[in-house]
Amino acid sequence: MSSELKTKLAFAMVAGLLLIIGFSQSWSVALGIFNLCLISAVMALGVNIQWGYAGLLNVGIMGFAALGGMAAVLVSQAPVAAAWEAGWAKLALAAIFFLATVIGTRLCYRKMSPGRHRTLSMTAIIILGLIMVRYWLDPAVASIEAIESAKTGFLGGMGLPIIFSWIFGGFVAAGIAWVVGKVALGLRADYLAIATLGISEIIIAVMKNEDWLTRGVKNVTGLSRPVPYEINLQTTEWFINLVSWWHSGTLSALSKTDQAGVLKQAVIESSSIFVKLCYTGLFASVLIIVLLLSVKALNSPWGRMMRAIRDNEIAAGAMGKDVTRRHLEVFIIGSAVVGVAGAMLTTLDGQFTPTSYQPLRYTFLIWVMVIVGGSGNNMGSVLGGFLIWIIWIEAEPVGVWLMQFGTSWMDEGNSLRIHLIDNAQHMRLFFMGLVLLLVLRFSPGGILPEVVRRRS
């Protein structure tokens, strides 16, 4: 089977699955799943850029997704003027001391010759710097968090439309990726995996605890939306007209008195679908842009170089390619894409909850998407994002249904039956692992493997 046909078939299958969900559950559910599929696909593309193109094992996806989410808060929330007033000077001083510490340590590392003197002076600079930072930061944090801590208690954001956060989120993730990459990219594959896993936990820990920046575990809810609110739509004239036109067939068959009630119900239902469709349009545009750019990049000389480095680092190095630099480059680009997806996710949720970031969902699930879809193949990652997200969501109702069916011979009140049905939702983790292992074993390239073109 040609790879193109296989791609089409695979996507037709995904479309079929979504249609089945639409018909059997509801179109609103199907659209909701589709929106998250789109975001997952963008995230999987980001991981594919790192793993599929360059063979970098980044197990810190969660951290970069969370950075994107934080960006959504920092862009869209209104600035808290009182908090800025109370804390900006001390905060600025803390930032200056922090920068000074970093630059000082770096200078020390560069200029002094290796040995005990260098180690000692670096340690001294770091300890002194940290004391100075803490000296200014602690009171700044205290005064910022004291201001209406129940309502704000943080600096707030820039008060811009949230959609800008999708770009900003990419830049924030890229910036942190630069730092992380500088530190960790020299490591061997398995060490890099463990180091990135740890760094992502540190990022989450910072977000949970630095209340002045992100409100921490108090969460930021009620983020602004890039699309209209259902409640406003339901009273907008053009929307009601649109719905009554759409349903004109069914409406005209009803009596005048019933019409108003049915129309009202239809407007409520349609408003939620309309909002979801707006999101779909936005997310799909982002996915298409990222996908087009990825395909272009992979097929460009840059992409060839990346694959060459991935397949044989030493040979590529001998050919004069700067492996470390290219790795850093691809690490930053991939993380930025994950950051964009993270910002989109928080936008869709309408809230930023640092505690909700868990590695199984935000790191390992994305990895399953990339491996199952096909690493090194952009369409494969998109497919993986779609398919795995559908399985992830649908495994729950299907699992519960299967359990109910399988235990139907037992008593209603049988405690084993109740336990099985109650816990059936956790089987989706089991299925994810199973799918990953099966694909890895029997089709190591994924469903849509990388297309290797040879000069004929």
């Binding site: 094992l57 463990i194 740890g198 390992f364 816990n423 983790l429 089991f430 990953l436 292992l437």
Partner: protein
């Protein structure tokens, strides 16, 4: 006299809040890291499923403990879980050997890259996590019974007349004793027995070991058995000391990796050392030293803040900062890694 009492009080404070918790948590980490390091030494990959293997073993132990408790069996002052532990170990070994046959063996035969093993272990992690949550649920489970304390804070205060109390939980004492015994047994096995020597040879140089007639299947099997024993005991001790929650065990993976790498991955002594280094730094960096300073310094110099380096919430972050530092400064770890 006053000064001596103050100093004793400060020492008791440090014992109570740093030394005792650090020792028991360090022992738990060390046992977990030993499992990771042995798998790395022999099979040469970082096993992401180790945390969930611990959870699995602990879960079986808990279920058997509950069954024993319902039958009225108890160990008196010691927790009943100790009786259930062998069953947990057997089940864990069973599932590990089965996983090896079904998953890893294929990649070993094809001489796949370590990265492939690692990704496969992520799949195993998912499945194991799913099984544990399916059987016992995602919530907190307590299964500690018997005596709670070896030394109670109040009794200690009464008998010594100090104003600070020292409390040692049974679970903490047990952890330290069992960890020491287990480590001694493990080293005896690795150093003295034929199989242990074969394992060390295999870890050092696979080809040479094979040429010398070491049976690779046997080495791998024994590796999984050892890892199963270590994981179950580490998990159960942690569960007795804190509480059992599947998600916590996934989180433990990070400090355990850190311990194994900081000590020098593949090196069992390093794993133990790493476990204590990580545990003590987590405890020390996040402890508020205010009271200690109040005892030690004259009242005019009394500190105003909590004297805490980092807030307690950064506990997990500490292990990673150490990990990253070690990876940067001395990637082979404190003791030279990659030998067993």
């Amino acid at each position: 006299m006053e000064a001596i009492i103050d100093i004793t009080n400060a020492i008791v404070l440090i014992l109570n809040y740093i030394i005792v918790p650090g020792l028991s948590y360090g022992s738990q980490l060390a046992l977990g890291a030993l499992g990771i390091t042995i798998i790395f030494g022999i099979l040469r990959f970082a096993n992401f499923a180790h945390g969930d293997t611990m959870a699995f073993g602990t879960m079986v132990t808990i279920l058997v403990t509950w069954w024993l408790q319902s039958k009225g069996v108890s160990l008196g002052p010691l927790p009943t879980a100790l009786l259930a532990l062998p069953v947990g170990i057997v089940f864990t070994i069973g599932i590990m050997v089965a996983t090896d046959k079904l998953v890893y063996k294929h990649y070993r035969r094809h001489k796949s890259a370590p990265v492939t093993f690692m990704i496969a272990s992520m799949g195993v992690m998912f499945m194991m996590n799913g099984i544990v949550r399916f059987i016992i649920g995602p919530n907190d489970q307590r299964f500690l019974d018997g005596e709670r304390f070896i030394v109670r804070a109040r009794d200690f205060k009464v008998s010594t007349g100090l104003s600070e109390g020292l409390s040692i939980k049974v679970s903490q004492g047990l952890t330290i004793v069992i960890a020491v015994l287990l480590v001694l047994a493990l080293f005896w096995f690795l150093q003295r027995t034929r199989t242990g020597k074969a394992m060390r040879a295999y870890s050092d140089n696979e080809d040479l070991a094979l040429l010398s007639g070491v049976d690779p299947d046997r080495v791998v099997l024994v590796t999984w058995i050892l890892a199963g024993i270590l994981a179950t005991i580490a998990g159960t001790l942690y569960g007795l000391d804190k509480s059992f929650k599947p998600f916590t065990y996934l989180q433990l993976l990070l400090p355990m990796f850190a311990a194994a790498i900081v000590g020098g991955i593949g090196n069992p002594i390093g794993a133990i050392l790493g476990g204590y280094v990580i545990a003590f730094s987590e405890v020390m960096v996040t402890y508020a030293y205010k009271k200690v300073f109040i005892y030690l310094l004259p009242s005019s110099l009394e500190p105003s803040g909590l004297m805490q380096l980092l807030s307690t919430d950064y506990k997990f972050a500490v292990s990673f900062i150490i990990l990253v530092l070690v990876l940067l400064v001395k990637p082979t770890g404190i003791l030279k890694g990659k030998v067993i």
